[in-house]
């Protein structure tokens, strides 16, 4: 990892440790105050506990122009970003995509191209609905590896993370606590329930928490929709297409709507927020990632709406292409943060 970023985070963490005014904002400070000296692993853990709510920046009496030049949200964001690149498997992919909006867009385009090619080359012999465009077997052949590879990659990264931060053996209770905190985004409430300081300097608002909830639950609903459909297909022998009042459709449509609204709001907030409090150079990558996620949701909804028209094959290729890119990029984009954050919360719960 980059030693200059770690050194800067260490310098700031030591000042915070002498101050302690921000203790109640989030999980970072109690963890920070438990140490006296900060190893690289400690800093990586603190960085992944931080979710850039900025409460500690606007409340800090030592921000620039003060010579102590505190900007803990950015110092931690830099280490966090660097840790995601460094812990990625393969590492080169982390370096290539995390910060690069261009590379993420390129990946999406390749995803589209691949699907268009597949539609052409693997033209189906019969089949209903979408399967008339691309056979179920072809879809599985493409998406099963695209689903399994990221899981494998993330598993390796999390193992690396666990070693790096020096956490102990994982127990179920740690995971329960971590999921509990993630589910209601306790930390995003800012310690006092007023939310975070994101889009309008020191004004507290629930905006970012709401947007994040929408994105997360939207994504999970879409994912659930696909999972339910898979079960219906293989276990219950009920292949697609499904009517509106079926579980996959209900989950998919509501999830898609939440996802799109959440992504639009997230981009809006990010454009208003002060970028000097984010990781340096990561803005393009983040916006591109949220864009890709939103596109997955939007193309899914449009596909649902225009599924009976001549535009369907093109829409299907676009949607599946973006899903493919999203899956494959999961370990190498902002998408990975959810996994690291859970790991950080689980490791943190060992302290309690």
């Amino acid at each position: 990892m980059q030693t200059d970023l770690l050194q800067e985070a260490r310098r700031q963490a030591e000042i915070c440790n002498a101050c302690r005014y921000c203790e109640g904002y989030c999980s970072v400070f109690p963890a920070l105050h438990a140490e006296r000296a900060f190893s690289d692993g400690d800093l990586t853990q603190l960085a992944n506990l931080c979710h850039n709510c900025r409460g500690c920046y606007y409340a800090c009496q030592y921000t620039a122009p003060h010579e102590f030049n505190l900007n803990l949200p950015q110092a931690l964001a830099n280490v966090r970003q660097d840790s995601w690149e460094d812990l990625a498997f393969p590492r080169a992919a982390g370096k290539a995509f995390q910060k690069s909006g261009v590379m993420i867009a390129l990946a999406a385009v390749i995803g589209f191209a691949l699907l268009f090619w597949a539609v052409r080359a693997l033209a189906t012999q019969g089949g209903e609905g979408f399967y008339a465009v691309l056979s179920h077997n072809a879809m599985v052949a493409i998406f099963l590896p695209a689903f399994l590879f990221p899981l494998f990659s993330i598993a390796i990264s999390l193992r690396r993370y666990w070693r790096q931060v020096g956490a102990q053996r994982l127990k179920a209770v740690h995971l329960v606590r971590a999921f509990g905190q993630a589910a209601n985004m306790r930390n995003l409430k800012g310690g006092h329930g007023d939310g975070c300081n994101f889009e309008d300097e020191d004004r507290f608002s629930q905006g970012r928490r709401m947007a994040h909830q929408a994105v997360m639950y939207g994504f999970l609903l879409c994912f659930a929709s696909t999972s339910v459909a898979t079960v219906m297909h293989y276990v219950l022998n009920m292949p697609a297409p499904y009517p509106l009042w079926s579980l996959p459709k209900l989950l998919g449509v509501s999830g898609g709507l939440l996802l799109v609204v959440g992504c639009v709001e997230m981009v809006r907030l990010k454009l208003r927020a002060d970028t000097s409090l984010c990781a340096q150079g990561a803005f393009g990558g983040e916006i591109a990632f949220v864009g890709l996620l939103g596109f997955v949701g939007l193309s899914g909804l449009v596909l649902y709406g225009l599924g009976q028209t001549a535009a369907m094959p093109v829409l299907l290729a676009l949607h599946l292409g973006s899903v493919l890119a999203l899956f494959l990029l999961t370990p190498f984009t902002k998408m990975a943060h959810g996994f690291y954050r859970l790991a950080a919360l689980a490791a943190d719960s060992q302290r309690q």
């Binding site: 030591e14 002498a18 302690r20 109690p30 105050h33 606007y58 009496q61 102590f68």
Partner: protein
Amino acid sequence: MTPAGTNPDVVVIGGGNAALCAAITAAEAGARVLILEAAPKPYRGGNSRHTRNFRCMHQGPLGPLVDSYTEEEYLADLLKVTGGKTHEGLARLAIRTSEACLPWMEEHGVRFQPSLSGTLSLARTNAFFLGGGKGLVNAYYRTAERLGVEVVYEALVTHLELDEDRINYVDYIRDGQTHRVTPKSVVVASGGFQADTDWLARAWGPAARNFLIRGTPYNRGVVLADLLAQDIAQVGDPTQCHAVAIDGRAPKFDGGIVTRLDCVPFSIVVNKDAERFYDEGEDVWPKRYAIWGRLVAAQPDQVGYVIIDAKSLNLFMPSVFPPIKADTLEELAGKLDLPAEALAETVATFNAACGDTSGFHPTELDGVATTGLTPPKTNWARPITEPPFYGYSLRTGVTFTYLGLKVDENAQCAIGDRPIRNLWAAGETMAGSILGQGYLAGFGMTIGTVFGRIAGKEAAAHAN
């Protein structure tokens, strides 16, 4: 609400806690309020931006505070630190009103935190601000803006024109130009004069030039001097200030809380000739924190050096700068610019005077003392033997000055024995009306909140 412009109902001078409490209260009473703050926006909030808690009376559990803290107990704590130099009537008023302040603060955006690590002993008496004083100040500015209060930053008030028993106008400098406003009421909340080193040096002697100022560089006492020159009633004397010993490497201004050093009880402290000069183990540190400012101020070059060894390093809160570290005392003396032989001698004499250390207990008066040593060390006296050795330099850090405006229970200023009809004062600038000397942690914010609100209410009532 119409903008306050040049003839607002109320002008509030200053932009810290007392000023904001006054401005919010006046605006809620319907007044058009203008805040004139000398600092630029990033540095707004004076010393208040460095605070962390306020001391609050309460009959039962209240907000983050546990148990109860009665008026009598609060007053007793106050009398102990001021050695009786307290205006009891105003002190009781501040104490009694503090209980209603806490919910008022919450209603106006201030958030408190559950008791902090390392400060559990204060969980009953002091409520800690989430995010510290700057978080509090930010919340008040948001509230004030919402109420239509107008804020001008970088507005240095230079003169209040007194005509008999009323302030006619207020002059301030902004962008190199003098501006004049003619408010109906004026609240002064512009702190002490500690950031004016010349004034400190006049009062204290040239040694004061070596003092560090823990808080804002903007509290230079300009308004205070202007009013005192017009014979407005004063209280306290200019030689009194609250000063503590802080890390000698701290910046001249605004170093704040993180420059605090808590290691003195586990150390020996020497002057630049490597001689000890006071009992480092006299009492637990919070009780001795404030006298070390004066002790260091009395040493040559106003500097002291704390020497500890490896076994004491983890017994106190970390501070902003890491200690100077060396494997031998000789090397440490070199790094601290102390005479090496003298230091070796002082440490050897001290070590020889240490006795049985088995009763050592870092958080209690353990009676582990030296014998036959002058000055003695009466607690926590353990020989300094275990390398690496560590050193910090100490300097005097001034928190605030006591000289101020004399006010009555309405926070109103006076000339001779007549009240000035439209002038009120709140916060540090009138704290001397209550405390003649000494200081009780968290009482500064209590005074500012209580008298800020009183001043705001009275100023608005007068304007209507």
